[in-house]
Amino acid sequence: MKPLLFALRREPEQRLDLSKLTPDRLVGRTVKEIEAIEIGTTKVGARVGDYFKVRSGDPANLHFEGGSERFDLLGAKLLPGFSIYVEGDVGAQLGRNALGGQITVVGDAGPYAASGMAGGHIDIDGDCGDFLGAPLPGEIAGMAGGRIVVRGSAGCRAGDRLRRGVILIEGDVGEDLGSRAIAGTIIALGTAEGRVGYLNKRASLVLAQPVDFGPTYVDCGAHNFTFARLFSKALAEDSRRAARLMTQKLRRFAGDTAVYGKGEILTPA
């Protein structure tokens, strides 16, 4: 069965709240009913039909033909077994609080992608904004499970307060990667800036290109880690480069000793 298609008519004038367009909410609805869903975020109001031409199909698989950096909350609270495919860019909070499923974005994503995500798989073909997998202001923990793969670069504070799950960034990352991370794993293949792993409690940060971690990270020598071999197998489908990095002998820097100190930064030995 063909996917349920949303073809973009024109660039929206206002930010759109697409959290209502998740597969579980669209099951059993007709095209007319879907086109009537309110997605505006200003007092002007906006309905799906104003910006999208909807073609009926399998609501378990959504397809967005055309994207916009004004597409907010796309795939929010997505459930296991569903998938969303976007040909184009998306806005803030992609896959916010997703519980499962697969989101593929062939384009860039805005800030707070995968914020609060607890499960599922997000693949961003382009770059993503700041606060990847991070909590919104006022929240205690960030991403709590699942996996996000960014083919391009990520902004500042990617993996802030990461709780669980895997963040894989093939490109460069902005300042303070893995800041305040609670646990989980971040792998960055490009360059990193700022204070990497700032106040990291228990997370593992794997950097293909090491930088100066400051005095609160202590060198624990180079080792062959069995868990890294498992990761290598698990990542092989998503990124060959990351899988290769994980099979290498890795130098372990324990820290951040300014806090709990059970975290680590691993770099090629």
Partner: protein, 302 residues
């Protein structure tokens, strides 16, 4: 006893009687085959019979680096006990003493059962707060720092109550050498059958037992009916041409695994023939009072 004959080997029209057990499995890996085997052999040592060891355990198969979760050589170990509580206690004890201590090893789940046993969750505290949990593809592992690096252990392994213990073959020959030759051939064939182990030394038991004893407090005693040195006495079931009896005991993760193992063993023993191997094959049972699983030899013949 009525007998069937296959390639000159007499097969008793009897059955092996087996009983339900709780079972679990582990995959132990190491940087090389030697240390994976060392860990597995140590862990399954002194695990021949639940009567005195608390569990019956053995190596199910060796795994190549391609077949293990972490891409290192490995061994699949099975452990069986009379209750899930016993299985858990024995597994955790043996893991802590024999695998955690063995250089280079890591532990993964080998079977998914109806229940789970805390394994990594039990030994992680050896890490004295330096241990780290990692979730990879929905499975949780503990990284316990040890002196040669890290001991990686899966947090929980599966346990199933659908296991069968006590499948057996009684191999009878004229002397020790030829009986042993046939029994070893049987054990070797069973080794290739997945999900089944032969927990006794080298897979072979010489002290086949009967239930009860003349002495108070002994639950089991020598199977005098099959002791060749008592063959002249009235209780013996041995023929005049039998001078030695050896037993193969089989535990399996399922009913099918045990019958497959018995079939494979029987086939190998019969293939050897009565001139160099066994003259007769029987099976041990207690008249159907021990357990619900009955493996009739006539159904397992090649």
């Amino acid at each position: 006893m009525p007998q069937l004959v296959r390639k000159g080997v007499r097969i008793d029209d009897s059955f092996a009687e087996a009983f339900p057990m709780s079972g679990t499995g582990l995959i132990i890996t190491a940087p090389n085959r030697k240390w994976a085997l060392t860990a597995a052999q140590t862990m399954t040592g002194f695990a021949t019979s639940v009567i005195g060891c608390g569990c019956e355990a053995g190596i199910d198969m060796e795994l190549s680096a391609r077949e293990t979760p972490d891409g290192r050589p490995g061994v699949r170990v099975l452990l069986f006990a009379m209750s899930s509580k016993d299985a858990e206690k024995q597994l955790v004890n043996r893991l802590g003493q024999c695998v955690l201590t063995c250089p280079g090893t890591a532990v993964f789940r080998a079977i998914d059962g109806e229940f789970e046993i805390k394994v990594g969750d039990a030994v992680r505290q050896f890490g004295d707060r330096f241990q780290i949990a990692k979730s990879i593809d929905g499975r949780r592992y503990w990284r316990v720092p040890v002196m040669d690096g890290e001991f990686l252990v899966e947090s929980k392994v599966g346990l199933t109550k659908k296991c069968v213990g006590g499948g057996n073959l009684l191999v009878m020959g004229p002397d020790w050498e030829s009986t042993m030759r046939a029994t070893e051939a049987g054990v070797e064939a069973i080794r290739a059958v997945p999900d089944a182990i032969t927990p006794f030394p080298g897979g072979i038991v010489r002290s086949g037992s009967k239930v009860g004893s003349k002495y108070k407090g002994m639950g089991a005693s020598t199977n005098d009916a099959y002791c060749p040195t008592l063959s002249g006495l009235g209780t013996s079931v041995l023929d005049p041409d039998i001078g030695c009896v050896l037993e193969i005991v089989i535990d399996g993760l399922s009913d099918a695994a045990v019958s497959n193992a018995m079939r494979a063993g029987l086939k190998a023993i019969i293939a050897l023939g009565p001139k160099t191997g066994a003259k007769r094959v029987g099976a041990g049972n207690y008249g159907g009072k021990l357990g619900p699983f009955h493996y009739h030899l006539k159904d397992l013949l090649p």
